[in-house]
Subunit: 418 residues, 2 copies
């Protein structure tokens, strides 16, 4: 893996070689997540963006040359990434923006953007010969690891979840054959136990914010947005934020492309948080450093972005600050009403955490954070089918009728179809 | 639309021009569904399969030249089709077959193969200037019409469902902005009312088996299987069957390719039905004609393939008979256990109707209908996230532990991970 130049701590700038560290910075601890930095000059010589654009590989491995795996390394077989980017004119009209695109990452194999991180982490695990990979998660990351791992017989997937996790989510993990540990405690308890057993047993840890390679998987969504727009990036990219790992990945992807000279600027990044889980938005508004951030108890309908102590807080704050972006917050009510609005204006049915981004754009426009002249890409991070219960709260209006044509006509008159 | 030569009744061979009929054969009634036949000699001259293979259009409109819409016609914007075809070696080993592929059509925008039919029907409706399109359905077809229609402001989507339909399925329709009529009656009542109001009001009817263009949308899954295998088709294609419209579409797609000279044979088609909804399997075993088929009351966990009187029975029987294929039936228990088996061996999480195909292959091998030397493509018609309740019935085995490392270790010993 000679193309990786070094791993650099996001807090102190401490530099390590690939052999020196496994996860976070030994000096700065958990908040000291690491950047995977490449020899960009060498990559610029070796990789041609037009060759990538000509690739028939309809998944994110079209960027294998820009990822921390060897060219001939085996990768999980499911088709992750290269998801549709929709030119959403009706959304643009709705917002009064010049141009809006929706990146539909709910189209991934297990229904969320997290498939990108899991696929990459599993490829690394295969390279290194690990036979057990573990994560603590109640949601999309766990489903992604279980699903992507299912097609790999040599890898056992072990998931730690709080015992309070919804049984539908646990069902999906079991369907994929993961070993599921229901921890009688909080998410943090599950997280700590997962870390501890991985360290003791020498298993590979997929946890967001801890394993720096998850960012490398997530960065591919930025590579795709750039390529799908013929390397002319939008003014703004907006995405919802919980642990902060997705916005960090998007930032890293655009930075890599800038270092390669394939794009001429990094878009402004707007992070959207739920009002009830707004640790990063609060830190951004207060001008706090990542080290100052304290755990808060949180509650929101958008479970995928509930985070008491965002694990990728250092990278996530940097992503917004360095790009002249912003954090905005939205209420749960606003999130719920955004689900059908977004579906009806774009055709994309999003889970609450993804619809939160739609709500956040409305708010960013109202508060002047977003200028109507800007072009915006909305990253939809999860499929609406993942949380049909929340969708149900967002809609009503079905017409109950007797099995009789006159009853049908009367009903249709009430909604002015007749 | 000069490339369409004629519409031909599948029962009597009666021939019509596009202007003469709207839906089924006026002579043979509802069972007399129509084939859309092209001027294949002209198509052979005009269309080059290598040009299609070089297309960067990552959706089924790459085959627009082979579909009943004009080259410059507007189409719904969502990315339907061009779904992954997985070379599923572990499935092949499991079945003891030489080669198995999984065509993952759950990756479509609303999560099922039905998106293909809805996208095509909506494109036809746009061409003809219809402003209302309607369908009767409890499931995937309705979601597909509502979802694909959501991105089209000029089209109103009207869905008729029996009032007993699951509220989660109704929620999805409402999220997409469809007008939903809950009919206090059976599926047949909803179907008849939908037909009647469309005829009265001049609205466009999407109903499977009635609208012959639905088959043209579904045929694209066969075109993709052929192209993805470099025009070397598998020996067998297996798919689950309810109304019979999908297997009919697959048959039509391969027949079109044979007429074009792009493939050298049509694969054997194996239709899988649930034991509790096996009208076509019964008719096939009894050697009945389509006109002899009677309505039966049915019950199965695989709601997407529950059909009392399969609407596309004539085409669906022909598909199997003409290709030296077969119908097999599987129990609901077998379907439920197939969900995790298929997910763990292929990474594809399928809804019950799609997992039924997996169960059907096991049965076809056991009964000698399938020969171990044959290569098989399993068409997975719907995403498992559509029916998480059924998936939950298929699995257990989560390990409940105290928030304590020793408890974790003890639990992992019970499953022999430690």
């Amino acid at each position: 893996m000679t193309k990786i130049k070094e791993l650099r701590c996001v807090i102190g700038g401490c530099r390590y070689s690939l052999d020196e560290v496994s996860y976070t910075c030994p000096v700065h601890g958990e908040v000291g997540t690491l950047d995977i930095l490449y020899d960009y000059a060498a990559l610029r010589e070796a990789v041609d963006r037009d060759e990538i654009s000509a690739s028939k590989r309809n998944n994110f491995w079209r960027y294998k040359a820009l990822l921390p795996v060897d060219a001939d390394s085996r990768v999980p077989p499911l088709a992750v990434g290269w998801t549709p980017l929709y030119d959403a004119r009706r959304l643009a009209d709705h917002f009064g923006l010049s141009r809006v695109w929706v990146k539909d990452d709910g189209a991934n194999p297990t229904g969320s953007l997290k498939d990108r991180a899991s696929a990459l982490v599993l490829a690394r695990a295969l390279e290194a010969g690990f036979s057990t990979v573990s994560a603590a998660s109640t949601g999309n990351a766990a489903a992604a690891l279980a699903g992507l791992g299912a097609a790999l017989p040599e890898i056992e997937v072990l998931i730690f979840v709080p015992a309070s996790a919804p049984s539908a989510k646990i069902a999906q993990l079991l369907v994929y054959g993961a070993i599921v540990l229901l921890v009688e405690g909080t998410y943090d308890d599950a997280f700590e136990l997962c870390m501890q057993i991985c360290q003791e047993q020498g298993w590979y840890l997929r946890n967001t914010g801890v394993n720096p390679f998850t960012t490398e998987g997530k960065k591919t969504v930025a590579l795709e947005i750039a390529e799908q727009l013929d390397w002319q990036v939008p003014d703004v990219v907006a995405v919802s934020v919980g642990d902060g790992s997705i916005i960090s990945g998007i930032h890293k992807g655009f930075c890599d492309l800038l270092h390669l000279g394939w794009i001429d600027r990094v878009p402004r990044l707007i992070g959207v948080q739920a009002e009830g889980s707004a640790v990063l938005a609060g830190a951004f508004a207060a001008g706090s450093s990542p080290e100052e951030i304290q755990r808060q108890s949180v509650t929101t309908i958008a479970d995928s972005i509930a985070a008491e102590l965002p694990r990728d807080r250092a990278k996530a704050l940097r992503a917004v600050r360095e790009t002249d972006g912003a954090y905005v917050t939205v209420s749960d009510d606003h999130i719920v009403t955004a689900i059908p609005k977004m579906a009806q204006l774009s055709g994309v049915f999003a889970e609450p955490a993804a619809a939160a981004t739609f709500a956040g754009l409305e708010r960013a426009l109202r508060t002047g954070i977003l200028d109507p002249g800007e072009s915006v890409c909305l990253v939809s991070t999860g499929n609406g089918l993942k949380d049909i219960e929340s969708a149900r709260k967002s809609v009503s209006g079905e017409l109950r009728v007797a099995a009789d044509i006159d009853a049908v006509k009367t009903a249709l008159q009430t909604v002015k179809v007749l």
